[in-house]
């Protein structure tokens, strides 16, 4: 009896879930086949990441191999149990399964013409998947490579978590740096040696920080408050200088950072509505459109029915006012609505605004589908600089003001009331909070920031059309704050860089943008629902305690 119990315990400790490993491998194979058949590998094959070695298409495939094999290796023993050397075997097995499935695809694809259904199932894809070596050799090579990659990923599971995190960061940094280099400085990826250096650099930095970072933080915390403030000021000055110097990257990068910046601005506004107050607004684009059209109508010489033409700066306060008023007006009918009902109504509101601007009815006033063009620039650029470079400073000012307002409100009575309302509307009301006033304040503040975003957008493009203000803008901004971390102000920045900045850099991605969005959102919801930089609550009690 005792012996059986003992052996059962021993068994429990070493339970190996090989079926889960195979399952994960199969899922990986499906993902790899999917990525191939939608054409991502082909479309991105032209963009070099490491000269003579890797293209972006291959990096994506590589990512699938590493991620899924690593997952498989972890599933072998379960998340909590310590991974043994068998993890390497599990990883290799998963990698091999992915390769086998891809190989099967190649074999089938060469026998049967799949192109009737899958337009991207072309000879070029087979060539890429067989590494250019033809069917028998290439497939064997693919499987060997898959097993090796899988084994490496499985080996990653054996590393101590700090080292593993550092290595993962290094691996992610290589393609990102390379893409930045290609997109911003017209380079052609990085050389093999360069990639190695980037990898080593980021791994070392991350590993170094994880071992001394905590100590450093403690040491800073131990400093007298005057010196702490000085350090903080130095840090912020560095950030400010960096932000001010960004346009020096050149006209094209400036355009991208302007776009990212507008999304940051809108994200900060929507973060107040959705993140702080918990009001799911899917029609946020409406205020963006109203801000842009206010600027267009008031500044463009094309608008002849209006006797006066303002400069952008004169029109800006009016655009903000329009945002505040329309935010309040939208708020009134939806005061009684919660959750999904609110989402549907605001969704409709966003569409209504777009359709109004598109309508024939208002065509004499706002140009219908022809939109409004010849919107003046806000600031004439100095010699040698482009409009986009100068515009960044307006965007930056907007972001700084918005972030300041959001921070101030967050740590005030209003912010706490918003959050209380988000947590439990009934109890918030039972605390004496006037829900009508509190909700309308959130809508109006968010709408005003969105209108500023629209105003900048109008002068950035100098022309606006109704189709620029579709539902997708609302979805994008929402995705930015979800990925960044609901309610977190730095999260908005990270979310916008990841979801708006990266796709702008990877032009080939444009076609797959929504696919990637969907995948990223699903992944985030499953693995990190709190976002990349989750909201942190400020310590009030201890903080005050130090002073007393």
């Amino acid at each position: 009896m005792t012996a059986t119990t003992l052996s059962r315990t021993a068994e429990k400790e070493t339970t190996l879930h090989w079926s889960r490993v195979v399952g994960t491998g199969l899922i990986g194979g499906v993902v790899a086949i999917y990525v191939g058949l939608v054409g991502m590998i082909e479309a991105l094959a032209g963009r070099v990441v490491i000269t003579g070695l890797l293209t972006t298409g291959q990096v994506i495939l590589l990512g699938v191999y590493l991620l899924m094999s690593y997952q498989a290796a972890q599933k072998l023993t379960g998340a909590d149990a310590k991974a043994g050397p068998l993890s390497v075997v599990a990883g290799a097995l998963a990698g091999l399964i992915i390769s086998i499935m891809l190989a099967l695809l190649v074999v089938i694809g060469q026998q049967i013409n799949l192109r009737a259904m899958f337009i991207n199932a072309s000879p070029r894809l087979w060539e890429l998947l067989t590494l250019g070596r033809g069917v028998p050799t290439g497939l064997v090579l693919l499987m060997a490579l898959g097993a090796v990659l899988g084994a490496l990923a499985g080996g990653l599971a054996l590393l101590p978590s700090r080292l593993r995190r550092a290595v993962s960061l290094g691996l992610v940094a290589v393609p990102i740096v390379s893409i930045l280099n290609t997109a911003l400085f017209a380079g052609r990826g990085v050389s093999a040696l360069g990639a190695l250096l980037i990898f080593a650099f980021f791994t070392a930095i991350s590993y170094g920080w994880s071992s001394v970072g905590g100590q450093a933080r403690e040491r800073v915390a131990a400093l007298p408050s005057g010196q702490q403030r000085l350090l903080k000021m130095i840090g912020w000055s560095a950030v400010a200088l960096g932000a001010l110097a960004l346009p020096l990257l050149g006209p094209y990068p400036s355009e991208i950072i302007d776009t990212v910046g507008i999304y940051v601005l809108m994200g900060l506004g929507l973060n107040i509505v959705v993140g702080f107050a918990g009001l799911l607004d899917l029609g946020y684009v409406a205020f963006f459109a109203l801000g842009a059209y206010t600027i267009g109508i008031l500044t463009s010489p094309e608008i002849t029915w209006l006797p006066l033409h303002l400069t952008w700066w004169e029109a800006l306060p009016i655009a903000i006012l329009v945002g505040v008023i329309s935010g309040t007006l939208l708020g009134i009918p939806v005061l009684q609505m919660r959750g999904d009902y609110l989402a549907i109504v605001t969704l409709g509101f966003g569409e209504i605004i777009r359709l109004i601007f598109l309508s024939d009815w208002l065509k004499p006033l706002v140009g219908g589908s022809n939109g409004i063009t010849r919107i003046p620039r806000a600031v004439p650029p100095p010699q040698g600089f482009s409009d986009q470079q100068v515009l960044w400073y307006i965007v930056l000012a907007g972001i700084v003001v918005a972030a300041y307002i959001a921070t101030r409100l967050k740590y005030s009575r209003i912010g706490r009331n918003w959050m209380a309302m988000r947590e439990d509307e009934d109890v918030a009301q039972a605390m004496g909070i006037d829900l009508v006033k509190t909700k309308l304040l959130a809508f109006a503040t968010g709408a005003a920031l969105s209108a500023v975003g629209g105003a900048i957008f109008a002068t950035k493009l100098t022309s606006i059309y109704p189709h620029s203000f579709n539902l997708l803008v609302s979805i994008n901004v929402l995705a930015v704050i979800i990925v960044g971390g609901m309610g977190s102000i730095p999260g908005v920045l990270v979310g916008a860089l990841a979801l708006v900045g990266l796709p702008e850099l990877l032009r080939e991605f444009a076609e797959y943008r929504l696919l990637v969005y969907g995948a990223v959102l699903v992944f985030m919801m499953l693995k990190r629902p709190e976002g990349l930089l989750p909201e942190a609550r400020r310590k009030l009690e201890l903080h005050e305690g130090e002073e007393v």
Binding site: D424, I433, L540
Partner: protein
């Protein structure tokens, strides 16, 4: 003493079900008044009518002589009634002290522009709110835990926090919905002393729903017994304990007939 809350023939129906039926009750200023009754007797529904979460179909509720039935919950709260919930309802993702500060929000006047401009008044108010929060946290025995997230507190502390949050409103009347639920005997004794302190030190009138008879009989001045939405008995704890209708409601008709609950 003058009555602080008077309910006259309060009736609340849900479809065909009459949850509270022609319920009369008068709560004296600075008393501890309990409402007891079997599950589903309509006690919490009555609380919800008082706090404005439900609007009674008939009858009237007067607080300090003014009618409050039909008023919005936030206005009723601002007039001086606070409550806790049977199933604890904290703002889970806010810190402990922030929860209390939300309760205190009615005492703060600064608005949007005050917060953004960081006016002197706003800064002073914030400071006062934090101080008040800390004071209330130590009053309920949660000193030093203010920066934890509310959801990370153990169960008993969550109950304390809910009371601290209600006290921050600065109520004249505090409705406690089963505060002793899930407490061990030592905690229950602490709670009883604590409720007495609320009345004696803060001069707050307490209206209590409780199933824990030791608590009810130990601290109540008056006990009102409800069954099927109606008042079936009222009096001091001793009077109520010996009332046959009460025993019947709790233990069934047989208990009275067979004299199970003689003494």
């Amino acid at each position: 003493m003058a009555p602080i809350l008077e309910a006259h023939r309060v009736t609340k129906r849900f479809g065909g079900l009459t949850a509270v039926s022609k319920f009369d009750v008068t709560i004296e200023e600075q008393s501890i008044h309990s409402i007891i009754g079997p599950n589903g007797a309509g006690k919490t529904t009555f609380f919800n009518c008082v706090t404005g979460f439900y609007r009674p179909e008939e009858g009237s509720i007067l607080f300090q002589g003014k009618r409050i039935d039909g008023m919005a919950p936030d206005r009723i709260t601002r007039s001086g009634i606070a409550r806790t919930y049977q199933n604890i309802r904290l703002f889970s993702n806010m810190t402990v002290i922030e929860n209390v500060m939300v309760g205190y929000q009615g005492h703060l006047k600064s608005g949007w522009f005050g917060a953004v401009a960081r006016t002197k008044r706003q800064r002073e108010e914030e400071k006062r709110a934090v101080e008040e929060g800390r004071r209330l946290l130590s009053f309920v025995g949660l000193a030093g835990r203010g920066d934890l997230l509310a959801k990370n507190l153990p169960y008993g502390d969550q109950r304390r926090l809910e009371i601290a949050r209600a006290l921050a409103i600065g109520p004249r009347l505090l409705l406690l919905d089963e505060p002793a639920a899930g407490m061990n005997p030592v905690e229950t004794q602490d709670l009883m002393n604590f409720i007495r302190r609320l009345r004696d030190e803060l001069k707050i009138t307490i209206l209590l729903i409780e199933h824990h008879m030791q608590v009810v009989m130990g601290i109540s001045d008056i006990v009102t017994v409800m069954d099927f939405g109606e008042k079936i008995a009222e009096g001091t704890p001793r009077e109520v304990q010996t009332n046959p209708r009460v025993i019947e409601a709790y233990l069934g008709r047989g208990a009275v007939e067979h004299g199970v609950v003689a003494s």
